[in-house]
């Protein structure tokens, strides 16, 4: 492992926007937009499957302050999709801005534009809709080949060959395998064979979806949106509205959290349509309730795992079948499901003789799913990690020892991970380290605390990717300034994660300046170089490499300018310690002098732009251990202690990597113990507010401790891999494991409620 003597890398510098955020400055969409903007509201269907037979807006339009109301009759007829993905998208083109056929309870029936929120709300109540109510398909187990079709339309289209078929309610299918799974399984001493179910968790970012639109000074559509994907959003708007991309500018200000939710253009098309129609600025702000009933939650999945092993705990084969519920539309359906297998099976590469992965993604008449941190890996790891824990408990082998024996190790080729080699892998050290700081030997046994309470522990491992290999593109522009500092322009989206800062640290490291001397800007389709956007854990790894490459180019350019100044050959110059030096002499040229030269009678620009894509996606790895106290009588689980050790390569900013990890763990705790999704009589999520959908408070998460094991990823910037998503993956299987230890019952569906714990009896 390489450990370089970094100056700006691996330093916990403050986020560049910290003080603005902590002192409450106006930096978010609704803080910086026009007070005169029209208010946009959406009328949503109360039916899960229906045709709008008739819609009358005459009376509603008479409400004072109402500017206009749009229905299915008014919108363009070409289908599009709203997942922020690289073109051509795997997600099917199955949407209209407003469709006459509404496909879930919460689907859009009308767009209202009014001078005030009150007027818009009043008008909403006065729109008269006559629905032809159809029977919905709600259970994702029965969706495939159901006679009820969620998308019967003839103009449904999918531009990637991912096996979708709207006449079978199929969004996609996928299959890959290595070795003869059935033969190995039948030769195993023990096969763990179970189904694991996880629900449509909500990202619950604190800032709800919101988009502001106006016509700019050139008569172009200017969109200010809380989005992770400015460039994809521009393309989606162009497709949905039928106007050229060159007529659209999308920018993102500060974003109040995303976690993948804002990788889907959930709110953009409606106000954009209103501004095109009216020529007036307008803004759509989703209510919290709308985020629950009409957002883009995690894909509900049921994963069937058959895991075969020898009696001494050698894991020999994994058979994996995933069923995923995409809801009413196909966004992210084909892609999330793939990760369930590719981010779980390879962790047990060591002795694995065979694996098989197949999956089906289906449409149902429920809220459309989308991207959420973890993106399928979370669901897959709950299944595989639980199965490994079940195996260990069945064989009476310590579950950490069974992982020692079977886990992937540095240098191994991973057949279930696109055949990639684990170049940088400290998973074994993570497990050792975590065992030590957690005090596993002491915490793992079940301890009776009296009064019905017991304490015990559980464990899980995780992996993720660092980008979408052979696909994601990150770009960066680095410009030299008169004062010797640098401007960094990016198209990646800092949604609180701190990418603006860590990418600035990379510029500082490369250019030999302080982080304070790097001014960062992002993201704006007019000003930023192209970037796929911030998702798939890719910003540090992909955009980071683009930053590194741009800096290397800029150094060469600065040498070329200096060569003109010194009237020498560029080969005689090098960039060292933040300046250009003439080799073998004491002569130096400062960045300040280079800038002034570049501004006066120069044909060379003192800036560079580079892109980066990667043929590999090096996994970060992680181990999480949880100690719980469980009240056997009430079923209440208290998290006492959560310890985690992460290998994200070299952490660019350890403080930010740590907070990312802590935040991900607490989201995972929420999904495991309290965030439930059930459906009410309108077939909408009953948990549609923060009163019912309970995310953890600071009294619900115990004490966290996060540490790092460094590895050095040769293909990453300064040895870095990703951190953003992996951190959500361990709590589900680790807590379910601890609950088994305390009660003798395996819970294979999340969340695990106190009632289920209190009233369940051990198997057999």
């Amino acid at each position: 492992m390489e450990h370089k003597n970094y100056k700006a890398i691996n330093q916990s510098v403050r986020k560049k926007d910290s003080m603005q955020l902590l002192l409450g400055k106006p930096v978010y969409t609704d803080d910086i937009t026009s007070d005169d903007a029209l208010v946009v509201k959406l009328l949503r269907s109360p039916h899960a499957n229906a045709i709008v037979q008739d819609i009358n807006v005459t009376i509603a339009k008479k409400v004072p302050g109402v500017v206009d109301i749009y229905t299915w009759k008014d919108v363009p007829k070409q289908r599009f999709e709203i997942a922020g993905q690289t073109y051509p998208e795997p997600s099917p083109y199955d949407r209209l801005i407003i469709d006459r056929h509404v496909r879930f309870s919460g689907d859009i029936v009308a767009i209202i534009a009014a001078e005030t929120e009150k007027a818009a709300n009043k008008a909403m109540k006065l729109i008269k809709v006559k629905y032809e109510v159809l029977e919905p398909v709600l259970d994702f187990h029965t969706a495939k080949d159901n006679p009820i079709l969620v998308h019967p339309e003839e103009d449904w289209a999918q531009y990637c060959p991912v096996g979708g078929d709207n006449k079978r309610n199929l969004v996609s299918t996928e299959f890959h395998a290595d070795g003869d799974v059935e033969a190995i399984l039948s030769d195993c001493d023990i096969v763990i064979d179970h189904k694991y179910h996880t629900k449509a968790y909500n990202q619950a970012m604190m800032e709800t979806f919101r988009t502001y639109c106006e016509m700019d000074r050139y008569g172009r559509l200017h969109v200010i949106s809380s989005t992770q994907i400015v460039f994809h959003a521009r393309r989606i708007l162009s497709q949905a509205l039928g106007i050229p991309k060159s007529r659209i500018r999308v920018e993102k200000p500060r974003i109040g959290g995303g976690f993948g939710a804002k990788q889907t253009a959930v709110s953009e098309v409606y106000p954009a349509f209103v501004t095109l129609k009216t020529g007036r600025p307008c803004e759509l702000i989703f209510t919290r309730e709308e985020c629950f009933i009409g957002g883009c939650p995690r894909h509900e999945m049921e994963i069937h795992v058959r895991l075969g092993a020898s009696k001494d705990g050698i894991i020999r084969a994994i058979d994996f079948h995933a069923l995923s519920n995409s809801g009413a539309y196909g966004e992210h359906g084909p892609t999330t499901v793939g990760l369930t297998g590719t981010k779980s099976i390879p962790m047990y590469t060591s002795n694995l003789e065979a694996y098989r992965f197949d999956c089906e993604v289906v449409y149902t008449n429920t809220v459309s799913a989308g991207a959420y941190r973890g993106y399928g890996a979370t669901q897959g790891l709950f299944a595989v990690e639980s199965a490994v824990n079940e195996l260990a408990e069945k064989l009476h082998i310590d579950p950490t020892s069974i992982r020692d024996k079977n886990m992937v190790k540095e240098g191994m080729v991973m057949p279930a991970y696109y055949g990639e080699t684990a170049n940088a892998c400290a998973l074994d050290r993570c497990l050792d380290h975590c065992r030590r700081i957690f005090n596993w030997e002491e915490k793992y046994p079940v301890r009776d605390m009296g009064n019905g309470k017991v304490r015990t522990a559980g464990v899980a491992m995780a992996m993720q990717g660092s980008c979408i290999s052979n696909l994601d593109v990150g770009s960066a522009t680095v410009k030299l300034n008169e004062d010797g500092g640098y401007n960094l322009l990016i198209g990646a989206a800092d949604m609180g994660t701190g990418c603006d800062t860590i990418l600035s640290q990379m510029v500082a490291e490369s250019m030999g300046c302080s982080v304070d001397n790097v001014a960062v800007f992002g993201a704006d389709t007019d000003a930023s170089p192209y970037d796929s956007g911030s998702y798939a854990s890719s910003t540090t790894y992909i955009t980071g490499m683009a930053v590194y490459k741009a800096c290397e180019s800029l150094k060469k350019r600065m040498c070329a300018i200096a060569a003109e100044m010194l009237d020498c050959n560029v080969d005689e110059l090098a960039f060292e310690d933040g300046q250009v030096i003439r080799l073998g002499t004491d002569t130096t040229v400062s960045p300040v002098d280079i800038t002034y030269k570049a501004q006066c009678n120069s044909n060379l620009v003192a800036e560079a732009t580079e892109s980066h894509a990667s043929p590999v996606s090096p996994p970060p790895y992680m181990v999480g251990m949880v100690e719980i106290e469980l009240d056997k009588l009430t079923g209440k689980v208290d998290i006492l202690d959560y310890k985690a050790v992460v290998d994200c390569g070299i952490p660019i900013n350890p403080a930010l990597a740590r907070v990312q990890t802590e935040g991900g763990i607490v989201q995972g705790i929420g999904h495991t113990l309290m965030e439930n999704v059930t459906f009410n009589r309108f077939n909408r999520p009953a948990e549609s507010s923060f009163l019912q959908y309970k995310i953890p408070t600071r009294l619900d998460m115990g004490k966290l401790r996060v540490e790092f094991e460094h590895s050095y990823e040769p293909t990453g910037p300064f040895g870095a891999k990703s951190i953003g998503e992996i951190v959500i993956n361990t709590p589900g299987p680790a807590i379910a494991h601890a609950i088994y230890r305390a009660t003798g019952v395996w819970h294979r569906e999340l969340p695990i409620t106190p009632e289920q714990i209190a009233l369940s009896k051990p198997e057999e």
């Binding site: 009150k118 009064n451 019905g452 009588l633 009430t634 209440k636 113990l673 309290m674 439930n676 059930t678 009953a686 948990e687 507010s689 009163l691 019912q692 309970k694 995310i695 953890p696 408070t697 009294l699 619900d700 409620t753 106190p754 009632e755 209190a758 009233l759």
Partner: protein, 262 residues
């Protein structure tokens, strides 16, 4: 969000009462739950200028104005000394400090919400409500009444010799409870109040004298079983009726044992 045509700060209780006789008008207290509704009202009647934001303690009783906040009763030394901290325990997990700075005792008791920790704890004490027209009546009686157009002015807790233990089961710490339970001994008599059934909290007494010979594991269990039998439960998204009945037994038994110092 509820819509309001007019806002009036009543100068007298009589003015508030008169305005409240119109069905389109409503008293606003903390406004925390009312706000989440989607209805409309003509006049919002605010009692905030009537001096009802004080807790008065005498030798015999505590008199708690309707506009006293949950945060005030959480921090009130006299009330918590008298209730052995049960009142603080009953409110300190309600949402958060900011919420409890606005939520009022009057609003909580008047609302007789099924999920109310506040109603549950006060029911187990020797508590009365003072209504503007209806006069003073026991909370136990008030808790069963249908809503009318009277005004709740004060909540009165008599300082009968009492021991009280409160507990609630919550899935998430600041959530609505799945079940609330107070066990108390007031004037020598044991009672249990159970809330979040999920219906309105109700009070049951130890009519069978199961605890009369002292608190033991056995007597506590017997009393808990009796309470569970007498208190009806239902299911909602937080738990089934069977689970709630199970919790009644667990929490009642534990509270009884805590009351007995066991």
């Amino acid at each position: 969000m509820v819509t309001i045509q007019k806002y009036v700060r009543a100068k007298t209780l009589e003015e508030a009462y008169t305005l409240n006789q119109n069905k389109r008008n409503r008293i606003v207290a903390g406004m925390l739950w009312m706000k989440t509704g989607s209805g409309s009202m003509n006049t919002a009647i605010d009692l905030c200028d009537l001096g009802l934001d004080k807790i008065e303690e005498t030798e015999e009783q505590f008199s708690i104005g309707a506009m006293v906040t949950l945060r005030q009763i959480e921090l009130h030394e006299g009330l918590n000394a008298y209730s052995s901290g049960a009142i603080r325990n009953a409110v300190h997990d309600i949402i958060g400090v900011q919420f409890r700075n606005s939520a009022t005792v009057g609003g909580s008791i008047w609302g007789r919400f099924g999920f109310s920790d506040v109603l549950t704890v006060f029911l187990a004490l020797d508590t009365y409500v003072e209504l503007y027209k209806g006069g003073i009546l026991p909370l136990e009686q008030f808790a069963k009444l249908p809503y009318d157009n009277d005004l709740l002015v004060r909540v009165i807790v008599k300082k009968a010799p009492a021991a009280v233990v409160y507990s609630a089961m919550r899935i998430q710490r600041t959530d609505f409870p799945v079940l609330t339970c107070t066990v108390s001994q007031v004037d020598g008599q044991y009672r249990a109040s159970i809330g979040a059934r999920p219906g309105r909290a109700m009070l049951v007494r130890d009519d069978e004298h199961l605890l009369a010979d002292g608190i033991t594991q056995q007597s506590a269990e017997a009393f808990a079983a009796s309470v569970a039998e007498r208190v009806p439960t239902l299911g909602n998204i937080r738990g089934s009726a069977a689970y709630r009945t199970h919790l009644i037994k667990v929490l009642t038994q534990r509270n009884v044992l805590a009351l007995g110092g066991l």
